[in-house]
């Protein structure tokens, strides 16, 4: 039995067998053969090609019915490459002429092809060298007898109930966690605020990240206990410990049932203050969860998942279909956030200055959209068209200047005029709001509020920018602190600005779903919360027994704290009230 400590996510506990991801780190051996060995080597190579082809075929068969059309097309293209004389034929020629092993011959030929692709001018085709390496790696795995555990469309193992162990997970990989009914995951890298953590929360899944080195210690099928609340994992626990954790698991489930009784209750504080509890969603699949907790609409719909993991941006028609489905499915207000790409959320297809979007201070979110109008415009058209079918609003991420807002509003106005002249229906009074995530925007909220119909505070980024901490950087994220008085003062500033301009202010970052902050935010005057649906009932429980008349004074003291430690002490006092 061994315990490891990291950052925990989620209240729950998961118990299950480990599934250690092994990605493409393949070392290709090189050795020379004598002439008598050549025939055998070619035979071994051909056998590996056959096995690879069989595994592709098995994969095609196992594709779920609702898999994107592109998956099958890709597998077919890869199978064709596998049989292509320019890959396998040439590799056999190299085995024969240079008297080398199959692995080396294949990698040599793959490198030759990759070099040609790298010289291509067309960025799309240049990226296709990845296909060559992908096919090559699959054959190499068969040649070397490497068992591959990857989290992609090429994996057809049953992952249900397993606990994924990995160095790190890409957003694309987390999608498979969702679809394959994985019980939990643990990673070496990451923090409570990384994208992976946010996904885990939305899946109601306990997880532990930032475990440094766990993927080297844990082997496949080790029994793991993942305690999301304490940030502990236990490898191969003793019977006693296992029993104790199973009992806790039962208790947590009982608490969840208890919370369910709050679903229908109106969300109101003891002193009669109405509080709107909305949900954050990513796809139409999340609507079910939102209905279960009786959320008052969607305060944040992250559209980037429609754009990620594919070769080109979705067309206007495709976006319209999705937005319509969500607007009519939710049946209440839906704030559609325009494309928010940057940091750990990246697009697969290329566009000019793509490099810059990986920096937190780079070309991301609305900046990216304004400089790539060909991506922005179809999205705005689709949102506007969807507004004819439901209560849809437009939410602009990461606005930082007045000019930027004016620019966006001008584009929306122009788009409306175009739709009108085309005779296409839309809601002419659609609301346009801005996300306050940059300190400059928080400070200028009073001015921005004159131009916008609502404000939404994105605390994850607001904290990152206010405290100058890259939230995906493991080395500094201990400094990330929602209770830094600077952050709290900015939040307060934005709420005041909204009150003054008489427009709604909501808060949609992780803070909204953390019950430790519920009273604090209520005391600051927040009336609209948007969070992952899984937290909503917990937060509601806090709201139902809060009295805002008593909170204001104590919250004022938290705001005037000298440092985060003092703020935390005062917050604890407030929560004990």
């Amino acid at each position: 039995m061994l315990s490891l400590f990291g950052s925990g996510i989620g209240r729950g506990i998961a118990i299950g067998p480990a599934y250690v991801l092994k990605n493409s780190d393949i070392e290709t051996p090189q050795f020379t053969l004598n002439k008598q060995q050549i025939a055998g080597e070619v035979k071994r190579f051909k056998a590996a090609i056959n096995e690879t082809e069989q595994s592709y075929k098995a994969l095609l068969k196992s594709l779920p019915k609702d898999a994107p059309k592109e998956s099958a097309a890709f597998i077919n293209a890869h199978m064709m490459m596998l049989r292509d004389p320019m890959i396998t034929g040439e590799a056999i020629k190299i085995i024969r002429s240079e008297l080398v092993n199959a692995e080396h011959a294949l990698q040599t030929q793959a490198d030759n092809l990759i070099r040609v692709f790298e010289q291509m001018e067309d960025t799309y085709l240049r990226a296709k060298k990845g296909d060559v390496q992908h096919v090559t790696n699959r054959v190499l795995r068969h040649l070397l007898g490497i068992v591959s555990h990857s989290l992609d469309e090429f994996n057809n193992e049953n992952l249900s109930g397993k606990i994924i162990v990995a160095k790190d997970l890409s957003p694309a990989e987390t999608v498979f966690i969702k679809d394959r009914k994985v019980a939990s995951f643990v990673t070496d890298l990451g923090s409570q605020i990384s994208h992976t953590a946010i996904i885990a929360r939305s899946l109601k899944m306990p997880a532990v990240v930032g475990l440094h080195g766990s993927s080297k210690i844990i082997s496949d099928d080790d029994v793991l206990i993942v305690d999301g609340m304490r940030g502990i994992i236990i490898i191969n626990p003793s019977i006693g410990v296992l029993k104790e954790y199973k009992a806790r698991q039962t208790k947590i489930r009982a608490r969840e049932r208890e919370l369910n009784t709050l679903t229908k209750k109106p969300s109101r504080t003891v002193d009669g203050q109405r509080v709107k509890l909305m949900a954050n969603i990513e796809t139409a699949k999340d609507i079910k969860g939102l209905k279960q907790v009786n959320a008052a609409g969607v305060g944040l719909y992250r559209t980037e998942y429609l754009f990620m993991g594919r070769e080109q941006a979705p067309t206007e028609a495709e976006q319209l279909r999705e937005y319509k489905r969500i607007a009519s499915g939710v049946g209440d207000i839906v704030a559609i956030r325009t494309l928010d790409i940057g940091g750990d959320k990246q697009l697969d297809f290329n566009y000019p200055n793509k490099q810059s979007s990986s920096s937190p201070l780079g070309l991301r979110a609305v900046r990216l959209c304004l400089s790539h109008i060909e991506i922005f415009k179809p999205q705005l058209r689709a949102i506007l068209r969807a507004s004819a079918f439901g209560k849809v609003s437009i939410m602009i991420p990461m606005v930082s200047s007045f000019d930027e807002i004016n620019q966006v509003l001008a584009i929306i106005k122009q788009t409306k005029a175009e739709l009108k002249s085309e005779g296409v229906a839309f809601d002419p009074r659609i609301k346009v709001g801005g996300m306050i995530e940059v300190p400059a925007a928080a400070i200028m909220a009073e001015v921005f509020a004159q131009k916008l119909d609502f404000l939404s505070i994105g605390t994850n980024d607001l904290i990152q920018y206010t405290l100058a901490i890259d939230r995906v950087d493991d080395a500094v994220n201990y400094l990330y602190d929602p209770l830094h008085p600077a952050v709290l003062r900015l939040i307060s500033l934005v709420i005041r600005a909204g009150e003054k301009a008489n427009i709604p202010v909501s808060l949609c970052g992780e803070m909204a779903g953390n019950v430790n902050y519920t009273r604090l935010l209520l005391g600051l005057g927040l009336k609209n919360f948007s969070m992952d649906a899984t937290y909503l009932l917990d937060v509601k429980g806090r709201i139902l027994n809060a009295d805002t008349t008593k909170l204001r004074y104590l919250v004022g003291k938290i705001l005037s704290s000298d440092n985060p430690i003092q703020a935390r002490d005062r917050l604890n006092a407030l929560n004990r009230l």
């Binding site: 592109e70 097309a73 890709f74 077919n76 293209a77 064709m80 490459m81 292509d84 004389p85 320019m86 890959i87 092809l113 040609v116 692709f117 291509m120 001018e121 067309d122 799309y124 085709l125 296709k128 296909d131 060559v132 070769e311 080109q312 067309t315």
Partner: protein
């Protein structure tokens, strides 16, 4: 032998999926089918060979078919290219 010039009109050019369709179509015929683009020549029955032409939208190339079913092969290939490889755009 048949010979015919053609322009690639689909948005992404001869990328992986379009190349795959072209190769699948070419494989149905016994004739030798060759694409000539600038100074490069490609065997239309080899996906790597076709992809390596790096023919993007607007590329003008020459199709050459040679064999018993050269006319049918030419028709099938030109139809596929002119139909945007049955993609949306």
């Amino acid at each position: 032998m048949q010979e015919q010039p053609i322009e690639i009109i689909n948005k992404l050019g001869l990328h992986a999926r379009a190349s795959a369709k072209l190769v699948n179509t070419a494989a149905q015929f016994s004739s030798r089918i060759e694409l000539e683009f600038g100074e490069q020549k490609a065997d239309a029955k080899s996906i790597m060979s076709v992809m390596m032409l790096a023919a993007s939208k607007g590329s003008k190339m020459l199709i050459r078919t040679d064999g018993d079913d050269e006319q049918e092969a030419m028709n099938a290939i030109t139809t596929l290219i002119n139909n945007y490889f049955d993609e949306q755009e």
